[in-house]
């Protein structure tokens, strides 16, 4: 039985040569919800069999979001599309490294897009923790318990995000999209730094509660 997404209008539409508008992809497309199996199955299909139609579906879902993310961060449309290309090519090449038990596809793609934004837009390097570093101090038991739950909790997290007070939600959007440290957000918005810090603290505490694995 062919998987659901193969029949998706997205795939057919995308692989069609240059006719018809390639519209932005509707986020409400039922099979394009992170946290459900499909997105991670698409990545798996790319990893296992270099499945180009699965990849086209990933493009349809993520490229317009990555472009919007980059434009919020200050890129013009043309630059944003160039970086979108880099991110999508990285998704294709690194599909094998995606681990559905460790992260949702959206989280994985976010980290790739964020790093490309730093690399290509700001021309800086971002230092990363190396999980194989002999200097790494491993998580003690009690922290291992609050490991972030993978895919299946993404929906819960998104619901919690919608449940945040609007000022916290908006602050998160500014922090993640506008490429400004929280101190600069405080300056730009005229809020006291302490208020910004406490909103961040409250928002993260609330969201982390939703990420904890229940025992």
């Amino acid at each position: 039985m062919p998987p659901m997404w193969r029949m998706s209008w997205l795939v057919g539409g995308l692989l069609m040569p240059l006719n018809g508008a390639m519209s932005d992809i509707d986020a409400s497309t039922p099979q394009a919800v992170d946290g459900d199996l499909p997105l991670s199955r698409l990545v798996q299909a790319v990893a296992e069999s270099r499945d180009r139609s699965a990849f086209a579906s990933l493009f349809a879902y993520f490229a317009p979001r990555i472009k919007a993310y980059l434009m919020r961060g200050g890129a013009d449309a043309a630059t944003a599309e160039e970086i979108v290309q880099e991110v999508m090519i990285a998704i294709w090449r690194r599909a094998e490294t995606f681990d559905a038990a460790q992260a949702t596809v959206s989280t994985w793609v976010f980290t790739i897009a964020r790093n490309k934004r730093i690399d290509l837009l700001r021309r800086e390097r971002r230092a990363e923790v190396d999980p194989d570093d002999p200097a790494l101090v491993p998580a003690p038991e009690e922290l291992a318990d609050v490991r972030i739950a993978a895919g299946q909790d993404a929906g819960r997290l998104q619901a919690a995000m919608r449940g945040l007070p609007e000022e916290q939600h908006e602050l998160l959007r500014m922090a993640y999209f506008d490429d400004k440290p929280h101190s600069a957000i405080a300056e730009a918005s005229g809020l006291p730094l302490g208020t910004v810090k406490s909103r961040i603290r409250l928002a993260l505490a609330r969201l982390r509660k939703e990420m904890k694995v229940e025992h």
Partner: protein
């Protein structure tokens, strides 16, 4: 040099950056030197590492809910041409594993291309040496400092923020005691005079975004020598 235990028998540090700084790292807004000190702290601090992972999940959720921006067909075609039929890049060739007694966390080690033994120190005053850590642009400037056992750093304050990550040995100031992995963050309101523990030298990675201002009685004497 003091004990520089690395790996599994290290306790969790007790001084951490606040949530805002960890989030700046996750959002990508932290500058190069800022990301260096935060990633180095997180290597030694499972608590902040886990917070940063949670922040990445938040980023994924925000990306999922962002209002999408239509993408041109040209972009898709360029990507399809770019991927060809090539398989993904083969996994990195196995790198030689660094020895277990390394001092610098991988972010700093990779940035400098050496562990502590390859650092070129410059003496700034008796008992205090530093090594510039070059970074690209950004708000913070980074440097390594090596301070001899028992040495008191002249009382000072900052125009901006000073982040100090202990990599070996320990020091104390009015606000607490700091050991390997601890990150001390002081703003312009904090005036302090750190003293290195008597039992060994202390190595720190320091990131500052404003000049240091000496405030103690020896200020005039030392400001001729010290160049922060």
């Amino acid at each position: 040099m003091g004990k520089t235990v690395s790996g599994s028998d290290m306790p969790c540090p007790s001084h951490h950056p606040d949530e805002g700084l960890v989030m700046d790292y996750a959002t990508g807004a932290a500058c190069e030197a800022g990301s260096l000190i935060l990633a180095s702290h997180m290597t030694l601090c499972p608590r902040c590492r886990s917070l940063a992972e949670a922040c990445d999940v938040v980023g994924g959720s925000l990306l999922a809910e962002i209002e999408p921006e239509p993408v041109s067909k040209r972009c898709l075609l360029a990507v399809l041409a770019g991927i060809g039929d090539r398989r993904g890049a083969a996994s990195d060739p196995a790198r030689p594993r660094p020895p277990a007694d390394i001092v610098l966390p991988a972010p700093l080690r990779n940035h400098l291309g050496t562990d502590l033994n390859g650092v070129a120190w410059r003496r700034v005053m008796p008992g205090i040496e530093e090594a510039h850590v070059p970074t690209c642009g950004g708000r913070f400037k980074g440097r390594l400092m090596r301070i001899a056992a028992g040495v008191a750093v002249p009382r000072h304050t900052h125009d901006g923020v000073e982040m100090t990550l202990v990599l070996a040995g320990g020091f104390s100031d009015e606000h607490g005691r700091y050991y390997r992995g601890d990150l001390s963050v002081s703003g312009p309101e904090i005036d302090h005079a750190p003293v290195v523990d008597a039992d060994g030298e202390c190595v720190c990675f320091v990131a500052t975004d404003g000049p240091m201002k000496l405030t103690g009685p020896v200020a005039r004497l030392f400001s001729r020598f010290i160049r922060f």
